[in-house]
């Protein structure tokens, strides 16, 4: 895959992000607290093979997103490349459904941190409910107040989480004093379908790494985005492989099935201190997710509302220029989802839904690459996916199969609930796009027509034979 140099988007800016922050943002967006639960869901000492396979597949997604981001280096890229690749109604339906992944991840992280804190404090399970509510309340409040983590702090937090997780995983493995069992035979005691599901789950470990493309307008060098994503994928492969193997090897079935396997891993590595350490690490990952998730999703919803594709109420701003309606709505929705998960213990369904949606969007990205090669052949592509037809079709097929697999399997068993959840979200989005959106757009058009134009008409051409500027029609 070629990596030519291009003109810088953010060159000459006073504040521009460098490669280090791009890597930490990409890794931090992917490495949510949910990562530990997803890793624990991959059973066996050979589970790292599923993670590495998923990482190799994620390279396909990386190539696609790198090409698309190079063509549209903007936070609105997903809207731009999708509506140029397909009917805008389909593009908007997919985008709105995809936004659900962010809600799921925020909800899952609130649930995980809530239950982990309740466990560490020796409180009963129900104590997680008020903790979850307080956590999400704090996240919403800090977002409404426009609190933003400085790039340097975010770098330190993300790299500390990754380093501490690695140290805990390696120490737990060493202290187990047992050799790995069948580390190179992924099918030992498993059905091939289990491996496919494990790879689908493995893809979820990398989910959201591509959201760093929304920072394309603020990077010092455009190439930092695709380079940063590549480094982030490599880091995630190593860290996730380690925690997957360490958890599978060290923890028992009950610990692996709990909502806080990372705490048990911490205890296995460093005793009670390790448990507290991993509780702190989990809290930091959740804060990263809350801040990144809320900002990314609420700003995207705001821009889509300003564009006229969502109701204008979603573009309301508070005095700190924060789109408060999307922030509050995301907080409430995340709270409801996390409480449902808390009440039903169905976090594995959440993981399956997220894995399926993520694989789906990777397949869509591969489709967009192929489609835009024929629709916009002359548009500049600072990054070009090699063999786009072969790799693009491979991406569509592979990620399509993984999305389908993840949507009907939970914890190695057939379970159509994730598919039902996705179908409901997709149907809701489609109904909005087909039924409500035309009304929203008609209303906006009527308001615009009634307002007319303020710009004064231009003066007529200054003399015969001289071409004057065209007249600008003026409204009432």
């Amino acid at each position: 895959m070629s990596e030519p140099e291009t003109g810088a988007t953010g060159a000459g800016l006073r504040r521009a992000l460098g490669l280090r922050t791009v890597v930490s943002t990409s890794t931090g967006l992917a490495f949510a607290a949910l990562e530990y639960l997803a890793a624990a869901g991959l059973a066996g000492d050979s589970a790292w093979i599923a993670v590495v396979t998923a990482g190799i597949l994620a390279l396909l997604a990386w190539g696609c997103f790198s090409e698309l981001n190079g063509m549209f280096p903007t936070a609105a890229a997903i809207r731009l490349y999708m509506k140029r690749s397909m009917d805008d109604r389909i593009a908007l339906t997919i985008t709105l459904s995809y936004l659900m992944t962010i809600v799921l991840v925020i909800a899952a992280d609130a649930f995980i941190v809530g239950t982990a804190i309740a466990h560490v404090l020796g409180q009963p399970t129900w104590a997680a409910v008020p903790i979850i509510a307080v956590l999400l309340g704090l996240a919403v409040t800090s977002n409404l107040r426009g609190v933003k983590v400085a790039g340097g702090v975010q770098d330190v937090a993300t790299y500390a989480v990754l380093a501490l997780t690695t140290v805990v995983a390696v120490t737990a493995l060493i202290r187990s004093h047992r050799a790995l069992r069948f580390p190179l035979t992924p099918l030992h005691g498993h059905h091939p379908g289990d491996l496919l599901e494990a790879v689908a789950l493995g893809v979820f470990l990398f989910s959201a790494f591509e959201w760093v493309t929304t920072n394309a307008e603020e990077v010092r060098r455009p190439r930092d985005i695709h380079r940063g994503m590549l480094i982030a994928l490599a880091v995630l492969v190593v860290v996730c492989s380690l925690i997957t193997v360490a958890m599978s090897h060290v923890l028992d079935h009950r610990q692996l099935g709990s909502a806080y396997p990372q705490l048990a891993l911490g205890r296995a590595a460093f005793g009670q201190g390790g448990l507290w350490l991993m509780a702190a690490v989990t809290a930091v990952t959740a804060v990263n997710t809350f801040i990144g998730g809320f900002i990314t999703a609420s700003r995207f919803i705001y821009a889509t509302a300003r564009e006229g594709s969502l109701p204008p109420v979603l573009a309301r701003l508070n005095d700190r220029a924060v789109p408060w309606v999307p922030v509050v709505a995301l907080g409430v929705l995340s709270l409801v989802v996390s409480l449902v998960v808390e009440a039903t213990g169905s976090w594995e369904v959440l993981v399956a839904v997220g894995a399926s949606l993520e694989a789906m969007i990777y397949a869509v990205a591969a489709f967009c690459v192929i489609r835009l090669r024929s629709r916009l052949p002359d548009q500049a592509r600072p990054f070009r996916l090699a063999a786009p037809r072969l790799l693009g079709v491979t991406g569509i097929v592979v990620f399509g199969v993984l999305a389908a697999t993840a949507s009907v399997s939970v914890a190695n068993r057939f379970n159509p609930v994730p598919l039902v959840v996705i179908a409901l979200a997709g149907t809701g989005s489609a109904l909005y796009v087909l039924v409500a959106l035309p009304r929203v757009q008609a209303k906006a058009e009527a308001v615009r027509a009634a307002r007319g134009r303020r710009r004064p008409p231009r003066a007529p051409a200054s003399g015969p034979g001289e071409p004057g500027p065209e007249a600008v029609p003026s409204g009432p």
Binding site: T9, G10, A11, G12, L13, R14, R15, F72, T74, A75, A76, R79, L80, G146, K148, T214, N215, E217, E218, I295, R299, Y302, A303, T304, R306, E307, G308, A315, L317, D319, R320, A321, V322, P323, R451, R453, R454, R455, R458, P469
Partner: protein
């Protein structure tokens, strides 16, 4: 294609609206920024400075390092400052491009929206 004078006239109107808008002034608290405007069709460059919740006059050129760079056609700049154009629509269609932090982009869009809420 809008001429330089048209953009200056449009900006002067927008500046007055922004500076007289109490809500917008609250939104700009602590947001001192330098914005470059680049007209792709004419090659003109302008600088907008926001300091102490107040927009300064538009100046020619783009000498100082910016916090935010907005690239659009001269027509779009004129329409935007007159309040006849929704910059988000143009941004989401790729016709207006930006370079800068997301938070700064949000504030700038907020200015274009809040300044014309009375219309």
């Amino acid at each position: 294609m809008a001429e330089r004078d048209e953009i200056f006239e449009a900006y002067a109107d927008w500046r007055q609206r922004c500076n007289e808008n109490e809500r917008l002034r609250r939104m700009l608290r602590g947001w001192d920024r330098i914005v470059h405007l680049v007209a792709i069709d004419t090659g003109d460059r302008f600088t907008v400075e926001i300091h102490d919740q107040t927009l300064a006059e538009l100046t020619d050129g783009a000498e100082v390092t910016a916090d935010l760079i907005v690239t659009a056609t001269s027509e779009d700049f004129a329409d935007l400052f007159w309040g006849d154009l929704n910059p988000s629509e143009k941004y989401m269609s790729g016709e207006i491009t930006l370079a800068g932090a997301q938070g700064d982009v949000m504030r700038l869009d907020a200015m274009s929206m809040v300044a014309f809420l009375d219309r």
